[in-house]
C-alpha cells in the first residue's frame, strides 16, 4: 500500500518491510496457492483428462460442496474459536428444508391445489414453497448458531466442548425428526430446488457461483467493515478487543451464527445434489471443512484467515482426490495424503516464520 500523503516523519532507521515479505506473499495461503498451481501443472502432465472441461466442472462442483461451509467456519477460526457442529448442521438444515417442502406440498394446505386430472399437485404460487422451505432450513441453522454463540460468548463455555456437544445434539435431532430415515425434497417446487442447487449456468455449476459471490462478500466484510476488523482483533488479542470497547459478546455470537448459516446453506445445496437428505448425511464433514480452512492458512490460534485461503484449501483437497483417481492410485490413500498435507502446510508456515 503506497502512502498517499506527505510523511511528517522521516524513517531514518526503520526500514519498510519488503513487498515479498508482506501480505499474501508472506502468508501460508500464498505458499499453498503456489503448491496448488504446481500440483495442477503436474496433474496436467500426469493425466490428459485433468484439464478437460468435464473434469474441471466436476472439480469446481465438488469443492464447492464444502467450500461455503469453509467460508463460514473461517470467521469462527479467525476469532480463535472452532465449530465442530458444521457437519451435523448441514444434515439438519437439509432435512428441515426437504421435510418442510414435502409437508407444504401435501394437498389440503393453502399452498397447492390439484390439477384437473385429479392427481398432479400444482403450486398456487410457484416458488413460494421453495422459498419457505429453504428459509425454514436456514432458520434452524440460525437457532443452532445462536445457541452456540450464547453458550460460548455469554456463558463462557469452551468453543470446542460446546460445539462438540452441539455436533451430537443436532445429529440426534436429525435422526429424531426423520425417525432415522432421512427425507427427500418433493412436491411441485422440487424442480426449482434441483435447478438451483445442482444445476448450472452456461456450464458453470450453481454451487460454484454461490461460492464466488459469498467469497467476494466475505472479503469485503472482513477487510472493509468494522465488523471484520473486530473479528480479527478478537482473534489477535481478545483482552485488547474488550478494553478498546469492541462488543466482544455480540461479535462472537455473530460469527457462530454466520458459521451455522453457511453450514446450513451448504447442507441444503448438498441435498439437492444427492436428491435426498439422509440422516447420516455429511457425517464427519466438519473435519474436512476444518482441514480445508487450516490448509488454506487459517490459524487455529486465531487472528489469521480469509476467503481466498478457505477456497484454496478446498480446491487443494479436491484436486488431490481427483488427481489420485485419475492417476489410478487406490483412492483410500486420499485420507492419508490429506493428513500429510495438513501437517506439511502448517510446518512450512512455522519454518517460514522462524526464518524471518
Amino acid at each position: 500500500m503506497a502512502m498517499p500523503l506527505e510523511s511528517p516523519i522521516t524513517f531514518s532507521n526503520v526500514s519498510k518491510v519488503k513487498w515479498w515479505r508482506r501480505g499474501i506473499f508472506a502468508s501460508q495461503t500464498g505458499y499453498v496457492l503456489l503448491a496448488l498451481l504446481v500440483l495442477m501443472v503436474v496433474m496436467h502432465f500426469a493425466s490428459p483428462y485433468f484439464f478437460t472441461e468435464g473434469n474441471m466442472q466436476n472439480v469446481a462442483k465438488n469443492f464447492s460442496f464444502i467450500a461455503i461451509a469453509t467460508l463460514g467456519i473461517t470467521f469462527v477460526i479467525i476469532t480463535g474459536g472452532i465449530d465442530l457442529s458444521v457437519g451435523s448442521m448441514m444434515c439438519f438444515s437439509a432435512m428441515i428444508t426437504s421435510m418442510v417442502m414435502v409437508e407444504l406440498s401435501a394437498p389440503g394446505l393453502a399452498f397447492v391445489h390439484l390439477a384437473a386430472d385429479g392427481k398432479t399437485v400444482v403450486a398456487n404460487v410457484p416458488g413460494l414453497i421453495f422459498v419457505i422451505s429453504v428459509l425454514a432450513g436456514l432458520c434452524a441453522a440460525l437457532i443452532v448458531g445462536l445457541v452456540n454463540g450464547f453458550c460460548i460468548a455469554v456463558l463462557g463455555l469452551s468453543p470446542f466442548v460446546t460445539t462438540l456437544g452441539m455436533l451430537s445434539i443436532v445429529r440426534g435431532l436429525a435422526y429424531v425428526v426423520s425417525n432415522g430415515r432421512g427425507s427427500f425434497p418433493g412436491g411441485p417446487d422440487a424442480d426449482y430446488f434441483y435447478a438451483l442447487t445442482s444445476g448450472d449456468v452456461l456450464g458453470v455449476p450453481a454451487p460454484f457461483i454461490y461460492l464466488m459471490i459469498l467469497a467476494a462478500v466475505m472479503a469485503v466484510v472482513l477487510h472493509h467493515t468494522s465488523f471484520g476488523r473486530h473479528v480479527f482483533a478478537l482473534g489477535g488479542n481478545e483482552k485488547a478487543a474488550e478494553l478498546t470497547g469492541i462488543p466482544v459478546v455480540r461479535v462472537k455470537i455473530e460469527v457462530y451464527v454466520i458459521c451455522a448459516l453457511a453450514a446450513g446453506l451448504q447442507g441444503i445445496i448438498i441435498s439437492g445434489w444427492l436428491g435426498s437428505a439422509p440422516a447420516n448425511m455429511a457425517t464427519s464433514y466438519e473435519l474436512n471443512v476444518i482441514a480445508a480452512a487450516v490448509i488454506g492458512g487459517a490459524n487455529l490460534a486465531g487472528g489469521i484467515g480469509g476467503p481466498l485461503g478457505a477456497i484454496v484449501g478446498c480446491v487443494l483437497l479436491e484436486v488431490i482426490r481427483n488427481g489420485l483417481v485419475l492417476a489410478q492410485v487406490n483412492s483410500y490413500w486420499q485420507q492419508t495424503l490429506v493428513g500429510v498435507i495438513i501437517i506439511l502446510a502448517v510446518l512450512v508456515d512455522r519454518i517460514r516464520s522462524r526464518m524471518t
Partner: protein
C-alpha cells in the same frame, strides 16, 4: 508546569476502597493539573493499581469523591471514564498483534464512509490520521505495518497514539518502561514529554526510579493503601522515595 491558578484536571478527595474485610485504599486525596506528569510509586500491594482502576472506572470507590475538570463524576464502567477524557495505557498495551498500527489506533472507533446503507472502513483517512499522530509523538512508525513486526517503543507509540485520538485530558500509563530496552525507554519518556507539551496530564505508574525522576514533575508514594508522600520531584531524592516505599520512612 503545575500552578495553583489552573483547575486541576483530576481531583480525588477522601477516596477509600474496601474489598470485604480488606481495606485496599484509605482516605486518598490527590490532584493532577493539565500538562503535569505525576509519578505514582509504591510496592506491590500498596494500592496503586486499585487507585488506577478507580480512576479508570473499573471499580467504584467505597468512599470519597472524584472530580474531573472541576465537576464530580461517577464511573460505572471504563467506557464512562473514557467518555470524559481519561485513557489508560495498559502494561501489556492491549494491542492486537495481527493488525496494522493504524487499525490498532482506531480499534473500536473506526472511521467509516457511507455507501448507501453500507458503511465501509475509510482506510486512507485512518492511515493519514495515524501518521499525523505518530508524527506528533515523533515516533518512526508506519501506519500500515503490522504491530507484530514492531519494537517495544513503537508499540508504546501505537498505544499512546490511541489516547491522542480521543483527545484525552488524562493519560495513565501502567509500567510503560517495564519490559523494554534502554533505547526504547528513552523513546517512551520522549512520548511522555510530547503528551505534556500538548497539555495532557500524565500519571506514570512505575517501579523504575530513574524514569520517574527523568520525566515527572511530582511524585506520589503509596504504602499500605495510604498516600504517604506528595512532593515536587526537585524537593525529593530517589533515596527518600525508596525509604518511603519500603516504610523505612513513614511519611513526608
Amino acid at each position: 508546569m503545575a500552578s495553583a491558578d489552573t483547575t486541576p484536571v483530576l481531583e480525588l478527595s477522601g477516596i477509600g476502597k474496601e474489598f470485604g474485610a480488606i481495606r485496599a485504599l484509605h482516605d486518598v486525596d490527590m490532584h493532577v493539573h493539565p500538562g503535569e506528569v505525576v509519578g505514582l510509586m509504591g510496592d506491590n500491594g500498596a494500592g496503586k493499581s486499585t487507585l488506577v482502576k478507580i480512576i479508570a472506572g473499573n471499580f467504584r470507590p467505597s468512599h470519597g469523591e472524584i472530580r474531573f475538570g472541576g465537576s464530580a463524576v461517577h464511573f460505572n464502567r471504563p467506557i464512562d471514564a473514557r467518555g470524559v477524557g481519561i485513557e489508560v495505557v495498559y502494561q501489556d498495551l492491549a494491542l492486537a498483534d495481527n493488525l496494522t498500527a493504524a487499525a490498532n489506533v482506531f480499534l473500536g472507533r473506526e472511521l467509516k464512509r457511507k455507501f448507501g446503507p453500507i458503511a465501509l472502513l475509510d482506510h486512507k483517512a485512518m492511515a493519514s490520521r495515524a501518521l499525523e499522530l505518530f508524527g506528533e509523538l515523533r515516533s518512526e512508525t508506519r501506519p500500515d505495518d503490522l504491530v507484530k513486526q514492531m519494537s517495544g517503543g513503537q508499540r508504546q507509540a501505537v498505544a499512546i497514539a490511541r489516547t491522542r485520538l480521543s483527545n484525552a485530558r488524562l493519560v495513565m500509563m501502567d509500567e510503560p518502561t517495564a519490559a523494554i530496552s534502554v533505547r526504547q525507554v528513552e523513546q517512551v519518556l520522549g512520548l511522555i514529554h510530547r503528551l505534556k507539551e500538548q497539555g495532557v496530564a500524565v500519571m506514570l505508574i512505575s517501579h523504575r526510579m530513574p524514569d520517574v525522576f527523568a520525566v515527572c514533575d511530582r511524585v506520589i508514594v503509596m504504602r499500605r493503601g495510604e498516600k504517604r508522600a506528595d512532593k515536587p520531584i526537585h524537593e525529593t531524592s530517589p533515596e527518600e522515595v525508596t525509604a518511603l516505599i519500603t516504610g523505612a520512612k513513614e511519611a513526608a
